[in-house]
């Protein structure tokens, strides 16, 4: 069951509600003029053109676990009580990674340098939400297949740097997902480059 699957092109609509929310929009409070909404829509469309979503996923058996850590094949250990709690009913784990690609980051950098921070913040929010939506997309993809096996994914997923799952684990995700093949690099400080790249782990449970 240990198999890497890569997605060369994930096509999803920009999650508009989530992008608005990330930009601070609050329904009933924030007032947006029609021309502002139109400009924002155009910028989100520009972000869509600049974003090339790619993904990778790897399904792995959990060799052993206790309340503090998860042991994966190849003597790889993930230490985190919160991840262990999430995976308490799982015998397998699925690692997910996605990237928005370098073009949107370059556009944000250029916009910032050219005094167009207004567009840069929209591109930034759109890229963050789209890469997150790519993980949702992969979860739906695997969820469909798992249902036919009488299995399902855990309700939530967990990322390095959150809770007590140290960011240093990014190295393990990076290697197992072979993110280099998607054009992603890992810095000494365990940051994924291009910036809008994410990884996460979800458990695979058997439906009782």
């Amino acid at each position: 069951m240990d198999r890497l699957i890569t997605f060369e092109r994930i096509t999803i609509e920009p999650p508009l509600k989530a992008i608005y929310r990330r930009l601070g929009y609050r329904k009933g409070l924030t007032q947006v003029r029609p021309d502002e909404a139109r400009t924002l829509g155009d910028r989100i469309e520009q972000a869509r053109a600049l974003i090339t979503l790619k993904g990778a996923a790897r399904r792995l058996p959990i060799l052993s676990k206790d309340s503090r850590q998860i042991r994966l094949p190849g003597d790889r250990i993930l230490e985190s009580t919160r991840l262990a709690a999430l995976l308490k009913d799982s015998r397998e784990v699925i690692l997910l990674g996605a990237t928005a690609g370098p073009a949107v980051i370059e556009a944000i950098r250029r916009d910032t340098a050219e005094n167009n921070l207004t567009r840069a913040v929209v591109l930034d929010a759109a890229a963050s939400e789209m890469v997150d939506a790519a993980l949702d997309w992969m979860e739906t993809f695997f969820g469909r297949q798992l249902r036919r096996e009488g299995r399902r994914l855990t309700r939530s997923r967990f990322s390095c740097g959150y809770g007590d799952l140290a960011l240093e684990n990014q190295k393990l995700f990076y290697e197992l997902l072979e993110l280099g093949r998607l054009g992603v690099e890992l810095t000494e400080r365990y940051i994924l480059v291009p910036e809008k790249s994410v990884t996460a782990a979800a458990g695979i449970e058997t439906i009782a």
Binding site: I10, G24, E36, D42, R144, G150, L167, R189, A208
Partner: protein, 805 residues
């Protein structure tokens, strides 16, 4: 006609055809444990699956699916099973035995679980080979036809259908699985799936799984007006509901059957059930629809093209379609170079630009001498299939690149072109027929281009006769009017228009011209092109190969659409005029004094107007310092307050901030030295700490601080602690701002503060960033702000209250 197809079509003449219900959930109910390989379990427990098949046949299914959904080598390989044909053969035999001739047996082909190029890493030919192996096994087991089901990726559905077609000619249903938003996970909508799959030879097309009958009726309804094959609906027993963590479907048989009526009304002639349905559901379904007439396909043919995510239908009354001509290396050195080097960045850029300019389709020509055009065409088409939603026009003088492209293109493409030349007809018509492509019929022969429209029409008729032998109709091609240069032959444009008019009005086919040639050798070609396009549009032209970046051309095209009754309610024209540059910009009311309009400009983030309004205000006699103090600063403070009350969100805050910045820059030369920027407020030094590359938040803070009159020294991102401390020693700022997004880099903030303190620097620090908390800031002896507006407030508090101006 083989038995399966005959039975299907005969039944559909009388009533809707009934498929089976769910297999997986039935097997689980009958003892299959979770997590096992269903195919292997069924081989080990043949009695159970026999029972499921027999129950469905007994409940009234006209056809049952073999239990081979995952019986391909990629899925079976995960369970260590390698004799794929044997598994398929065996399960097909079990199904045949179970139904005892009462129902047809369809060989079930499900997805491999991998995505295929250009959407995933699985090679297209590898995928075809995987499915071919399964098809052979199922054929050996004696299936009557095939069903390709639960497909999320149109490319995978194509690979499976090609595998069936290249192995046998049996009747094949293809059903995709659409989410509630009406697209597959990979973004294909029902109409696009239909256009692609019916052209490729699917016997019936439709949808299964994912949704209940109600949503599925919408998808079937979207396909119905364009379907030339029967439509299939195999919904779940309602929408899945989570109960105690389990997924359950709880639409009972009676309710399911009642709602099936809507599916038939929407156009589905072939019905069954997916997840959660049982033999009871099928029995109720059969009873509910057996007295109904099966919907008959409304069309025999369809002039439409598709990509993986979009369809362009050529129908009278629709706007003239623009085929972007840009991706053609003739006369373009940069593109020639890129194609030679096997790169595609420029091609992608050209596709994006043409799409943004309003192209409906993209012509793709890679005719660079001395390169492997077949491979290049393959690579470029694969790139564009993922990079653009626009359907492609495959343009080559050689048949090989065309065939290679059509095989892998995940849509229904247009061939540019097939002429009356003997070799072209012989080579390309079978290829176009195999992949269901449309083609541009170029009315020239081995003897050359006929000069007159009359002679061109003879060639069109001759090619059509030949094409009919391959199953084509007049809806499957566009007649090319053949555009010649007006400068060298003044009669040429007239002959082209006559050809177009004859093809559109007399012959009843779609038409196309390659526009630009008409103006060759003339000055200001764009006007000649635009005028000719309008004339051709009036002659009934369907599509033009042209340059969508030409504003003249696109405005004239849209105007011609309105005048030719091809743009309902002039919606396209109005949308074109509403674009930036097409309509007047919102301007502050002229009646107000300039300083009030300046205030409005800052509040509204009108960066285009602010510079002029500053100049106008000064000209009207307003003092520069007063303008800053009494108009602009209060306006940006108001913006901050609105942001605080969430009346504004980030794009508005930043737009106002940038407007303010431009305004202050315009004002700067007029301010007296004492009140110049920074003099009254001091210097703030900011940086994103070492190891962190995320700096958009820091940039927002810098902008807002400058707006409020601070001098900001921005050291950038990924800045070493030592460098920050040296900068503090040099600039002696009032406050130092540090930002970090990640837990691993956040620790650097403490390092910077400790180092500064060791060097005897007592300046206050302000920290912020996604993972930074007030508690963490407290623990390292720094102030904290959650966003840019708060950062300004905190810094104002630290530096001693409101500005002195």
């Amino acid at each position: 006609m083989e038995k399966g197809r005959r039975k299907f079509l005969d039944t559909l003449k009388r009533r809707p055809l009934i498929l089976d219900g769910a297999t997986g959930t039935e097997l689980q109910k009958r003892g299959m444990p979770p997590g096992v390989c269903p195919e292997l379990w069924c081989i080990e427990n043949p009695g159970v699956i026999e029972g499921v098949h027999a129950d469905y046949a007994g409940a009234g299914s006209d056809a049952v699916y073999t239990c081979t959904f995952g019986a391909n080598r990629l899925k079976l390989g995960e369970y260590g099973v390698h004799d794929v044909p044997a598994v398929n053969r065996s399960l097909a035999l079990v199904a045949r035995k179970a139904v005892r001739g009462k129902a047809l047996v369809l060989g079930d082909i499900g997805p491999t679980g991998r995505f295929i190029r250009p959407f995933g890493e699985l090679d297209f030919e590898e995928a075809v080979s995987v499915f071919r192996e399964q098809v052979r096994g199922l054929l050996e087991g004696g299936v009557d036809g095939f069903v390709i089901e639960t497909m999320m990726d149109i490319q995978e559905a194509r690979a499976a259908l090609i595998a069936v077609k290249e192995t046998c000619g049996l009747f094949t249903l293809v059903t995709m699985t659409f989410e509630r938003d009406g697209r597959t996970l990979n973004g294909t909508d029902p109409l696009t799936a239909l256009v692609t799959l019916q052209a490729l030879g699917a016997g019936a097309v439709g949808c299964n799984c994912s949704t209940g009958p109600d949503d599925m009726a919408r998808f079937i309804g979207a396909m119905r007006p364009y379907a030339k094959v029967p439509l299939v609906a195999k919904p779940n027993a309602g929408l899945p509901r989570s109960a105690g963590g389990d997924t359950v479907y709880d639409m009972d048989a009676a309710e399911f059957a009642r709602r099936a009526g809507a599916l038939v009304a929407a156009g589905a002639g072939i019905l069954g059930g997916c997840c959660g349905t049982t033999p009871r559901h099928v029995a109720a379904l059969r009873k509910a629809v057996s007295r109904k007439k099966a919907p008959v396909p409304l069309r025999k043919s369809l002039a439409a093209l598709s990509s993986a995510r979009r369809t362009v239908v050529f129908e009278p009354g629709r706007p003239l379609a623009v085929i972007g001509e840009g991706i053609n290396p003739t006369g373009k050195k940069a593109l020639q170079e890129e194609l030679r080097e096997g790169k595609t960045a420029l091609v992608r850029q050209m596709a994006r630009d043409q799409e943004a300019a309003g192209a409906d389709l993209l012509d793709v020509n890679v005719g660079v001498p001395g390169i492997d055009q077949e491979q290049t065409m393959h690579d470029v088409v694969m790139t564009l299939a993922a990079a653009t939603d626009l359907p492609l026009v495959i343009d080559s003088a050689k048949p090989e690149p065309i065939e290679r492209a059509l095989r892998v293109y995940p849509g229904r493409a247009l061939i540019n072109s097939i002429s009356g030349e003997t070799e072209k007809l012989r080579r390309l018509l079978p290829v176009a027929a195999k992949y269901g492509a449309m083609f541009i019929l170029l009315p020239l022969t081995d003897r050359g281009i006929p000069e007159t429209a009359g002679k061109r029409t003879d060639v069109v008729r001759a090619v059509e006769r030949e094409a009919r032998r391959h199953g084509f109709t007049r809806e499957d091609f566009l007649v090319d009017g053949i555009v010649m240069t007006a400068a060298s032959n003044p009669n040429a444009p007239r002959e082209t228009l006559l050809t177009v008019r004859w093809a559109a009005e007399t012959f009843g086919a779609r038409t196309v011209v390659g526009l630009s040639n008409v103006s060759f050798g003339l000055p200001e070609r764009r006007w000649i092109n635009a005028a000719f396009l309008a004339m051709a549009s009036a002659s009934g032209l369907t599509a033009a190969i042209a340059n969508p970046a030409s504003e003249e051309l696109m405005f004239v095209k849209k105007a011609a659409d309105v005048l030719g009754g091809r743009d309902r309610d002039a919606a396209g024209w109005i949308a074109l005029c509403a674009k930036p540059g097409g309509a007047a910009k919102r301007a502050p009311a002229e009646a107000l004094p300039p300083e009030q309009r300046l205030r409005e400009a800052v509040l509204e983030g009108n960066r285009e107007a602010v510079g002029g309004l500053v100049a106008e205000s000064l000209k009207a006699g307003v003092d520069a310092a007063a303008l800053a103090r009494e108009v602009m600063i209060p306006a940006i403070v108001e913006v901050g307050e609105r942001f605080g009350r969430k009346e504004y969100f980030l794009p508005q805050l930043i737009a106002s901030g940038e407007t303010m910045k431009i305004g202050m820059e315009a004002l700067e030369p007029f301010l007296k030295q004492a009140s110049k920027e920074g003099a009254g407020r001091g210097t703030i030094l900011i940086a994103t700490v070492k190891g962190d590359i995320h700096d958009i938040g820091k940039n927002i803070v810098a902008l807002l601080l400058r707006n409020h009159g601070y001098r900001v020294v921005d050291l950038g991102k990924d800045v070493a602690s030592e460098r920050i401390v040296r900068a503090i020693e040099k600039h002696r700022p009032q406050v130092v701002g540090l930002s970090a997004l990640m837990t691993t880099t956040m620790t650097r903030m403490k390092e910077v503060i400790d180092l500064a303190r060791r060097r005897g620097l007592s300046c206050p620090f302000l920290v912020g960033g996604a993972v930074v908390t007030r508690a963490y800031a407290d623990s390292i002896g720094a102030a904290y702000a959650r966003d840019g507006v708060e950062a300004v407030q905190v810094i104002e508090a630290i530096t001693g209250g409101r500005r002195k101006a």
